[in-house]
Symmetry: D3
Subunit: 318 residues, 6 copies
Amino acid sequence: MTTRFNQPLGGNEMPRFAGHASMFRLPTQTNAEGLDIALVGVPLDIGTSNRAGSRFGPREIRCESVMVRPYCMYTQAAPFDSFQVADIGDVPLNTFNLLKSIDIIEGFFDDVLSHGAKTISMGGDHTVALPILRATAKKHGPVALIHVDAHSDTNDSMFGERITHGTIFRRAIEENLVQADKMFQIGLRTTGYSAEDFDWARNQGALVVPAEECWHKSLSPLMTEIRGVIGAETPVYLSFDIDGLDPSVAPGTGTPEPGGLSTIQGIEIIRGCWGLNMVGADLVEVSPPYDTTGNTSLLAANLMFEMLCSFPGCQRAR
Amino acid sequence: MTTRFNQPLGGNEMPRFAGHASMFRLPTQTNAEGLDIALVGVPLDIGTSNRAGSRFGPREIRCESVMVRPYCMYTQAAPFDSFQVADIGDVPLNTFNLLKSIDIIEGFFDDVLSHGAKTISMGGDHTVALPILRATAKKHGPVALIHVDAHSDTNDSMFGERITHGTIFRRAIEENLVQADKMFQIGLRTTGYSAEDFDWARNQGALVVPAEECWHKSLSPLMTEIRGVIGAETPVYLSFDIDGLDPSVAPGTGTPEPGGLSTIQGIEIIRGCWGLNMVGADLVEVSPPYDTTGNTSLLAANLMFEMLCSFPGCQRAR
Amino acid sequence: MTTRFNQPLGGNEMPRFAGHASMFRLPTQTNAEGLDIALVGVPLDIGTSNRAGSRFGPREIRCESVMVRPYCMYTQAAPFDSFQVADIGDVPLNTFNLLKSIDIIEGFFDDVLSHGAKTISMGGDHTVALPILRATAKKHGPVALIHVDAHSDTNDSMFGERITHGTIFRRAIEENLVQADKMFQIGLRTTGYSAEDFDWARNQGALVVPAEECWHKSLSPLMTEIRGVIGAETPVYLSFDIDGLDPSVAPGTGTPEPGGLSTIQGIEIIRGCWGLNMVGADLVEVSPPYDTTGNTSLLAANLMFEMLCSFPGCQRAR
Amino acid sequence: MTTRFNQPLGGNEMPRFAGHASMFRLPTQTNAEGLDIALVGVPLDIGTSNRAGSRFGPREIRCESVMVRPYCMYTQAAPFDSFQVADIGDVPLNTFNLLKSIDIIEGFFDDVLSHGAKTISMGGDHTVALPILRATAKKHGPVALIHVDAHSDTNDSMFGERITHGTIFRRAIEENLVQADKMFQIGLRTTGYSAEDFDWARNQGALVVPAEECWHKSLSPLMTEIRGVIGAETPVYLSFDIDGLDPSVAPGTGTPEPGGLSTIQGIEIIRGCWGLNMVGADLVEVSPPYDTTGNTSLLAANLMFEMLCSFPGCQRAR
Amino acid sequence: MTTRFNQPLGGNEMPRFAGHASMFRLPTQTNAEGLDIALVGVPLDIGTSNRAGSRFGPREIRCESVMVRPYCMYTQAAPFDSFQVADIGDVPLNTFNLLKSIDIIEGFFDDVLSHGAKTISMGGDHTVALPILRATAKKHGPVALIHVDAHSDTNDSMFGERITHGTIFRRAIEENLVQADKMFQIGLRTTGYSAEDFDWARNQGALVVPAEECWHKSLSPLMTEIRGVIGAETPVYLSFDIDGLDPSVAPGTGTPEPGGLSTIQGIEIIRGCWGLNMVGADLVEVSPPYDTTGNTSLLAANLMFEMLCSFPGCQRAR
Amino acid sequence: MTTRFNQPLGGNEMPRFAGHASMFRLPTQTNAEGLDIALVGVPLDIGTSNRAGSRFGPREIRCESVMVRPYCMYTQAAPFDSFQVADIGDVPLNTFNLLKSIDIIEGFFDDVLSHGAKTISMGGDHTVALPILRATAKKHGPVALIHVDAHSDTNDSMFGERITHGTIFRRAIEENLVQADKMFQIGLRTTGYSAEDFDWARNQGALVVPAEECWHKSLSPLMTEIRGVIGAETPVYLSFDIDGLDPSVAPGTGTPEPGGLSTIQGIEIIRGCWGLNMVGADLVEVSPPYDTTGNTSLLAANLMFEMLCSFPGCQRAR
């Protein structure tokens, strides 16, 4: 098949275990020029409060992404026939200084967005979503937010710091990066510092869907409902913390919490974004040192592929 | 918030990866004086028939328990506002002699119970439940038993020995430690020495709920039924073998059996104990050498937190 | 209990961690003489396109099979009271030459089948199913096929080679080893080289059941339907690629794909074969180097036991 | 080559990763009849004081022994042209009761020795050496002992028990199983309960060679000296605890101690036994759950091969 | 034995795998009051440039330290008969902000030193040595420095930051915390940003001993020489980066470099400090996520025990 | 520093854990045009007889090579100031067919050599050395060979195949690719199929240096001797099988053999090639699935850097 867009290196041209492990075996470039969608690594992990290691997330997700082929069999989605996509590498952040890195990341995304590209990012810890949202809101205005996570990430501070992987969505709302009444937090669970930890977001207008309300059922109906609330025009950002899923399906992460979503539910959420005006997405908190089989990275790569398939304009049957 | 009870060391006072990894980061003490509930480690693993290693269970469960915060978000349970709880350390058992250790454990629990405390214990292999039940029955009389497990543990003997991790509930019934007609075995499955292996317990009056009867559904209705049979007054003991859950959610155990309960079902069982007159509980058979990510220990810590939340008197919304 | 058939070495005669780890601790023999069912290892992994390692599958599956006891508790199946079964060891294949090994395997199975035995084989990668099917069709004629897998394995070629783990079922249909209108592919999913990858089999008459159509439900009704189509007389072969199951339950495999079947669904498929005229089965693609806990091999051993229980003539209650 | 003795299954007859993993791929038999040397597994690990897991030692050592070929290249030793050797399997011990197991082991070795065979055993923890020495001394009289270890194993008791993996050589001397003035303890090091821990053995006449006296040099001169003391007639037993070697070369063991012997020194000790009247040997304390690469088991298998090569009568050039 | 000092919990009072894993199983206290030597954890790892994870160093070193007994067998050192030692826990640092943590650490050590205690610290990454040296120099004046490492750690800056794990000893010299002419860097090796990377320290007066100059020999003569230069009065600080040792003996570290020192040489360096006026020491850069067997932490615990044995006043035979 | 040659991406421009993991973080190109030395991956592992997995060698060696900086501190070698070097990616081999892959590899190297570049290759299993030597001998004539290995790799055939990882150097001599009288095999050891296994090479004129002759000493004198025999003009190829080193320093390999060379000796061999007319080199048999810490790949990357430093023309002090 010929196409005008970048195509993944085929499995019959170079064995999957061989060759450069760029994201989805796509061509690489150093900025977002000419792209519809830029794949970006943000290997920051000094915003994390327990286990580190997500600094290696982008490298390992890319390594496992070599198994992902160009077509989604069930939805018949064909992202590489629909968009110009490339791997534009990692943000050259400062690993010793969290606040400087936040600024570097924001600047990097400003540049990507200035080329008219949308972004699908891979962390790194969840802190990286804040500067991405800052850049995104500058470009697109406050966004609707679909937030998959075990944690609310709306603490006011941690150890006195106002920017960490546990505070970013409070900052995002305070800074008007997110439309709080079009914010959906899915998968929150287990334990908190107080019984009211999830209420701050609720009080701003967000819908919190605890994991318990997801147990034993498909999330497709929930996504139908969410699409109804958001509508087709509002710019939407999907922030997907891999720890929203259960540790049995995503063991390689820094703050796992039992009782989470299944892989299937995670896919349903992403596929359920089709029809929304997606302007950006991230997949964060994969920590390879705790991913003893590589399968968390593999899952992350597949979820990022599903994200591509849900961006507006993707050829797709269902 | 001020409280008259022990509180876990906060995540903003000391990073979660730092400081003494006591259970739930609670204060420690060397006996049960003044406690409502004592958390006890019983690191015995010489009663096990296949993989060893649960001797390291208490240490690793404590290490992973540092992530557990004081409030259950869904049930709004607040155990540390409701009870005086502490980590009273491990039973100083004799690692070379199973029968002597059984006696040491019984004596240890006699002492704890003499202080009026209830116990939540962590194994060690399942053999430890027998001396705990001996002490518990001395204090509270024969107990109703909710037993989560892949195995019935009602063999008459193994290798000619009458006390092993596979024989304890036959002993418990024979010794009248347990009310067999208020005994519920949930999650039993796979293969047995004879097709009648589960029938001995049935013949004593126990209800056996094979894993197959749990597949594809919530266990909350089962728990409602069980609460109806037991009633609110009968003293109840919950013995939770982590291998009752599927190996995908609890890989780090000694005799894993495929096709088991989900984490969600495990939580439903424990939450479903609320309203019963819980007098003791254990979480056994976590084997850290086979828990390559630490997530089995993490799950065990969360399940023990849920146990705390289900003891009578816990402030809780649902 | 006395029986005229081979019995597994009992757990009270020799500890489970001790003694020769033959399959199910059964006696071994070097050919299939006198057997109803022969257990065979086929440790070939040079037909695989991504991660290798399934060459060690037979050894590790045997090692973990020591936990499997002789009776299935739920179905009350008693295979070792019903059949003469033995472990006949591994095919002495040529690890440097795929095509020569294919021939060696076919010859080995010709010999086994000539003794009137049926076979349950363990891989090795999925390529081994082709020579087994060649031998099986010679003996029994074209078979109905129940094929559990994440992948269709019906590529025409890979790297120009016509025999690899991704092409075998196209070859099997072309060679009339399989009745394509009685072929069922269950669990197919994720991504393909083209959106039509699964259509070749459909066009031959096969029923493709994508994983998505299996989500959130029991597969027992599907198996009822399949039994209806196949009928009781047609010889049936079950080819079970462990990657049909989700990576969370079977991490130790070479080309894992997220969103797959649960262990429970895998068991339902195999139990649902009871009543069919099973003439052979395989369990392939277990790759021990990626099975950090041994639990994938353990699952494989249990699934092979369920296969035994579903062969015609097995004493069984349901 | 034809020979009248058992030969290992060749690497060109069956791939090394395939076939039954008997020790050195030798034939198996169930007793010692007709053997010059019997290879025996003793999978006991309930005599251990820290990490368990050596119960899986025999199985894993056998699995890794498939790489060992029949000739030692440097010494030109040809044990399978010199002796009738077979793998006679594991002692069927009682895993719940240490003292009963000790008796079972002694009985097993009595039987082996009654056939005139010598033994090379694999543990299991070091406790197993005591019943082996009891049987050996009954047969051969008190033996000279070459004992490689990080620990003296001459405590009087542990937790009040007189038979554990840390007390056995005190028992062996007290019971006159060993000629204390021909006892050599090599590799002892690190820390003790008192500064005099190694002196009890010295006071009985043993020569203690601390690891420090082995640093930076070949142990061949030491072995020459030891051979001089023992002489050619005295029956000699070699007890080789893998933790005598440094944790970097033998990580998979239960009580590792830094600063130990190198693999090279370990080989020098065993090769240095050539010329002595070896009547038995063991290799103990390999704990597979801590042997993440399998290389400790592989080393153990090679050391056991070197033991074979050092038994009297082995054809050998140097 | 009775003593006036804290004693480790004995292995016969509580199994080594049980009980609170304080450092060396010593009593804990929350400040340094009454101590001769305080054991301190400094779980900072956000100063590291490649692999993270040393934040878990103190927890795992303590866990493995349970194997260390009170007496050094070779030197006959008896630190717990010589000093009052306790585990005073971890510095409550701010895991999101490197510079604030540096100040917190300095303040913590100011307090410890104000009680007249000396310190043996465990990292964390090497950055922690800077605030410790600041506090130490305030108390004792500029110190002689024995620095074991693969790296010089004398970069001027990294990513523009002047305080990271690669710049600390340049800062320490600039701030006159160290007497550069009594500074010894042992084990430096492999590759650098320029061929002159090690020359800055040399130009300040330090002696650099590359790993190559250590190959194939004992380091005891070097230590004799170093003791001669330093003399008996000068206060000395030993900073021991575990990556000074070879990755084969210390795999669990963040920036391993092949060709390093052996464990034996590491012990020789520490034992060679006996006779010096040691005022402080650290053991840094153990990263448990990369320490798959626990043996790096075990080695670290033993090296810290050797440090205790080399502090002035320790009873010791040689 | 400015240079006319490719430079590795600096550690202060992009964190080491970030960015594209090309070899040494060098620029990539798709052929050898303009290069003095081409770095090539050859991810073939179907020529291996025991553990597979070296197909992932090139990917993991590149990932770990990010730690290697541009200057060798001890020798002061500056390869990137001396040569134009780039990573030219992997050979697109056919993973299902060994003989076709051998031809593909030879063709690939023919092309590289036609550009006038020399090659440093990374395997893959040792089979890859044969087609590389074929291309090299076509270009440079028969080469002197320095061969580091545990095995002679001079079998006549394995399983009847004449090209496998165990036969290549017999083929290389037979095909006159190598000057047998200038062939040096270093590190050979343990066991063989016959006591004469190493004699075939000796009979062709090769010098075999068994590991035993390397124990306890520096190999620099050996290299001096070898340089004397080879002389300065003869083209030389270095084939370095990582299993020549001991499993303790290189655990991640397919056929490890105890008692091997140390890392230090490995470096001495490579540094000892300086002064020879090196025309090519390889580093083979790194198998990442067995390299649990990544340190075998890290070692391989450092050894390949040392190879670069030993090629003629490298600026270097000693």
